[in-house]
């Protein structure tokens, strides 16, 4: 008995220094622009404060495509970074490759299950174990409105689709482009999912784009969604082809256009132009999506580490990411909202407060749905095939019925 406790003490004594020894944290991310870079710097500050050495591994460009290529090389060569910015079902795909680390112990200690909505924590788990930590939540189903332009046209901010088209007609008569849009596949898909949620509701959205139910996808609701899309198309200018999203946002900022469907990263463009939410611009739910919430969550997936020091550093990293202090300061900089439901929202602006309130409400009423245009809902192969159909519909004379048929076919791609 005594011997056993002695061995335990010796073991503890030999293990402890190793555990206390600080490790390197290397985080692969593509937060390289403005507010995003500031947010990443906060994480670095907090980790170095804990005594870990921070090795920045930022790979800019291509919306993360370049970073993914770099990550693949590192993983294949057996030298993965501590964590990498991976989100949505891609976490499952990396989990299936058998390279992600189990951080369930950290999650249990931090009581993550309580602090995250179930739909969110499910994304962070592979086979029931936490392998990733959420950094922020972006809401996608926003409609950005220029109140000045609306006043000039005598239009009111729409809550339903008939109201939306009435407002669009008034804007057009006043010589203002009703909808600012960029004809890039992901923007077409962003518009589409807001329309799908507004026209079909959260149940339809879940069945069609999360469960990929063939009958729902091929059903009359999808035809209606495409019909609405076709109508919106007539309010978009010809120069939209290939336009970047922030240029479309600029059209709303300077009053050339009345509204834009875009996620809450658009807010950064407004505030950077010195505009105040509620006064110079209005953030409202996309028509028909009141109380529903399409989420796009950035997260850090943890990769298996060899040395105990690195494992300890990784656990600290995961705990830091989920700490209220980090969640608050990171999201204040980035314009999104914290993933933790209990983060104090006092310092955030009105749009973020509304977003946070709506997320809480939507989580309770099962109307919190993953955004498929932002790779949160389905395998990347399926998502790609669907986005192809949507963008072809936006750029050809395809009828809603044809588009529905092809979308259902795309939904079967795995």
């Amino acid at each position: 008995m005594k011997l056993k406790s002695l061995t335990l003490a010796v073991m503890a004594a030999t293990l402890l220094p190793a555990a206390a020894f600080a490790g390197d944290v290397e985080v692969l991310h593509w937060w390289t622009s403005g507010g995003e870079a500031k947010s990443a710097a906060e994480l670095k500050k907090m980790m170095t404060a804990k005594g870990h050495a921070w090795k920045d591994f930022a790979v800019a460009g291509g919306g993360g495509d370049n970073a993914m290529t770099a990550l693949k090389t590192r993983v294949v060569s057996g030298n993965p970074p501590t964590a990498a910015q991976i989100k949505g079902p891609a976490i499952q795909e990396w989990g299936a490759e058998g390279v992600l680390a189990d951080i369930d112990a950290v999650a249990k200690a931090g009581n993550w299950d309580k602090q995250l909505p179930v739909v969110v924590s499910n994304v962070m788990k592979y086979k029931g174990k936490y392998v990733a930590a959420p950094v922020n939540v972006h809401r996608v189903n926003w409609l950005w409105v220029n109140p000045e332009a609306f006043k000039k046209a005598g239009a009111t901010v729409p809550k339903t689709w008939p109201e939306f088209f009435a407002a669009a007609d008034k804007l057009q008569k006043a010589g203002i482009q009703p909808v600012a849009h960029g004809g890039q596949p992901w923007q077409d898909a962003t518009l589409f999912e807001s329309v799908a949620l507004g026209v079909g509701g959260a149940d339809y959205y879940n069945k069609a784009f999360v469960k990929l139910d063939k009958a729902t996808l091929a059903g009359p609701t999808t035809v209606k969604v495409f019909e609405t899309m076709a109508k919106i198309k007539t309010y978009i200018d010809k120069g939209a082809a290939g336009r970047d999203w922030n240029l479309a946002t600029a059209m709303v900022i300077n009053g050339k256009a009345g509204m834009q469907f875009m996620g809450d990263w658009a807010k950064g463009e407004f505030t950077a132009a010195g505009k105040v939410p509620g006064k110079d611009f209005i953030c409202t739910d996309a028509p028909g999506t009141q109380n529903a919430f399409t989420f796009n969550i950035d997260s850090m997936a943890m990769f298996q580490q060899k040395s105990p020091a690195a494992v300890k550093a990784q656990a600290d990293l995961a705990a830091t990411i989920m700490s209220p202090a980090f969640q608050e300061v990171f999201n204040l900089n980035k314009g999104s909202i914290p993933a933790r439901l209990d983060t104090p929202m006092g310092k955030f602006d009105d749009c973020a407060k509304k977003s946070s309130f709506d997320m809480n409400a939507a989580a309770k009423s099962n109307k919190l749905v993953p955004s498929f245009a932002h790779k949160m809902a389905m395998p990347s192969a399926t998502e790609g095939a669907m986005v192809d159909v949507i963008s072809q519909f936006m750029n050809s004379s395809m009828t809603p019925a044809q588009a529905t048929e092809r979308l259902a076919k795309a939904g079967a791609v795995r």
């Binding site: 004809g183 120069g239 290939g242 192969a381 790609g384 750029n395």
Partner: protein, 300 residues
């Protein structure tokens, strides 16, 4: 001197082995990095590889999926349109410019440089510049409208039915000067006495070009076709910079398809299959050409 026999043997040995020794790193590099990787891609195209390579045999699954993919057929059709028009117009424009420059005109050197200059730009620069010029809101159309031609429209860049033709325009602008240089070199290589003999026989200048000069440019035609067809099939940067494959997927080409599926959509197997199809296309075009070329060379 007495050392000469052994020295002679040594230099003979060096003569025999030195070239092989010097060439071997290049040979090894191209064996591994070209043919080795072709074989690897071929293998991947028969697997179910997703995010990362996996090596379990899946048969023709990826090819089957590829042939059912409508986007692939859009890309293939676009390659057909782009490839044939690009090669045709480059040949015509290049040949015409070469013939005109061949007329012993003044300032030929300067003109030649001007025509050849686009070749010095990368396709990305060409694509971006043409994107600005063809953009209806700020390019050619706007200039014409501002000049008072209110009805002038030129919106091919944003028109899904016409966008692939803008790629042809930019591509021809970029490459026809190079084709001209090749043809001009060919024309200058023809023996003057043949032309003089034809003139003595009373042939007019157009006849001389049609019956004598252009037929004797046959080997140049082959080289130009070889170069242009592989530029066309692997074209990626020009389309990426000019239209980004859009609007929608209307100006997609196989190289963009391959890149997106292999690297951004996590469908490595599917991407590998499309890369193999591109390889087969190149082989199908080039092998008969090269065969004809070597046969005609032997006959001469």
């Amino acid at each position: 001197m007495s050392a000469s026999p052994s020295q002679g043997r040594l230099s003979a040995l060096a003569d025999r082995w030195l070239p092989k020794l010097v060439l071997s790193p290049t040979l090894a590099a191209s064996l591994i990095f070209v043919y080795g990787f072709i074989a690897w891609t071929g293998w991947l195209s028969f697997t179910e590889s997703r995010l990362m390579p996996r090596y379990d045999w899946a048969g023709l699954l990826q090819y089957q999926a590829l042939f059912e993919n409508e986007r692939w057929w859009t890309a293939a059709a676009n390659l057909g349109i782009f490839g044939s028009l690009f090669i045709l117009f480059c040949l015509l424009v290049g040949l015409l410019m070469a013939v005109l420059l061949d007329q012993k005109i003044r300032a030929e050197g300067a003109l030649r440089t001007i025509y050849l200059y686009p070749m010095a730009l990368s396709f990305v620069v060409t694509g971006t510049a043409w994107k600005w010029m063809l953009n209806p809101d700020m390019g050619l159309q706007k200039v014409m409208n501002d000049l008072g031609f209110a009805n002038f429209t030129f919106d091919w860049l944003v028109n899904p039915d016409m966008s692939i033709y803008t790629v042809v325009i930019a591509g021809v602008w970029q490459s026809s000067g190079f084709v001209m240089a090749l043809f001009l070199a060919g024309l200058r290589g023809i023996d003057d006495s043949i032309i003089k003999a034809a003139q003595v026989d009373g042939a007019s200048l157009p006849t001389i070009y049609r019956r004598i000069l252009i037929p004797s440019l046959r080997p140049v035609f082959f080289s130009v076709l070889l170069i242009l067809s592989h530029i066309a099939i692997k074209s990626f940067d020009l389309v990426m910079a000019l239209t980004g494959g859009g609007p929608g997927t209307s100006s997609d080409v196989p190289a963009i398809f391959m890149y997106q599926f292999a690297f951004t959509r996590g469908q490595l197997g599917q991407g590998a299959a499309s890369a193999m199809m591109m390889l087969f296309t190149i082989v199908a075009v080039l092998v008969p050409l090269m065969y004809m070329e070597t046969r005609s060379a032997k006959r001469v």
